[in-house]
Symmetry: C2
Subunit: 225 residues, 2 copies
Amino acid sequence: MLRSCAARLRTLGAVPGPARRSFSSEKATQKDYSLPNPSWTKDIRLLYDQFMKKCEDGSWKRLPSYKCKSTQRVQNFRNLFLDTKFVEEQTPKAQIFTRSLEEGLGFEYVMFHNEAEKRVVCVFQGGPHLQGNHGYVHGGAIATMIDITAGTCAVLTGGYAMTANLNINFRRPIPLCSVVVINSQIDKIEGRKYFISCDIRSVDEKTLYSEATSLFIKLDPNSLK
Amino acid sequence: MLRSCAARLRTLGAVPGPARRSFSSEKATQKDYSLPNPSWTKDIRLLYDQFMKKCEDGSWKRLPSYKCKSTQRVQNFRNLFLDTKFVEEQTPKAQIFTRSLEEGLGFEYVMFHNEAEKRVVCVFQGGPHLQGNHGYVHGGAIATMIDITAGTCAVLTGGYAMTANLNINFRRPIPLCSVVVINSQIDKIEGRKYFISCDIRSVDEKTLYSEATSLFIKLDPNSLK
């Protein structure tokens, strides 16, 4: 439950509503991890440039990504959903999972959002410390990227939400250090239920690596306290 | 696909067959990460001690866990299933995903195997760098632990196998830095298909955090070359 909010909390700039108020100050004080860095290969840079072009007419937006240790939005979220005392005791050194590994060794990614199409696309480069089977990206790392991409799609449409189900079919192994494209879109909304499908393909779109369906539940502020 | 083999490759000591031949030399040269370290809390130490007691009559076995960069087993696996040249080019700095974070900050776990019951139990402490939503373990980190626990269960029964499907229901969020017990067992075997169920519970077993079903396919040496 709730982990889709991690994606939500990493996509501060694109979320409507009161939370936007503190965006500019967060931008000023926190590093944005979804910008190119020296570890990015030609493939991920090429896709980044292509999507940045799509952003020019406003149909797509790049989603900034922060470690998000202590922002106004986290505070808002905690006030709404969590027992803050408990959280303080539990997470003195807490860091967002997907930004915890060193630059280039773990999760390198950038997400783009198309509001009209209710789609989020993530360009992902799986670093050498994400190894599962020898030479390939770990299934858990793939599940992580599916969770945050689909979760971001849910949260940008409906606000705070939690993952209720992830159902992943692994078709082909993803070579370590390669770049793939994760495509997520909302298929159906039923009340507080958001049904989101997701696939992972090679840069040339010819290879389907994974397919997933997911269910996210919009959070009720009283559901966790 | 294939990521269950990562678990397989991390459970060197418990696997029957030729691969066992080089176990002693690996034990001598590689650090075993499934032994207690200073970051382990009272909860995980208590469960570790309880399971070590169960190991005394031989019904349960503790599974050692290595970063497994270059062992005889990896060599065997590569010779059987991979294009070695490709792997060498792709993974100069490769590390097993679940052992890539610093001691105490990421995945702290130990697995135990009961051969007669076809069960693998994993005692897991999710460190502060596994954060998803604020104060809770990331869903991707949970999926990772389910994958390696169920994958180990499949591989210890049938040999090299790959994850074909993971279907996870997230019932309750897992507090960061807490200890949980992951229980996996083989429900059914149909030819090369291994159907494995898995759940994650609190130490006192009263809280069900997650439930999952999974399908693993025993590998055909010709399936990937």
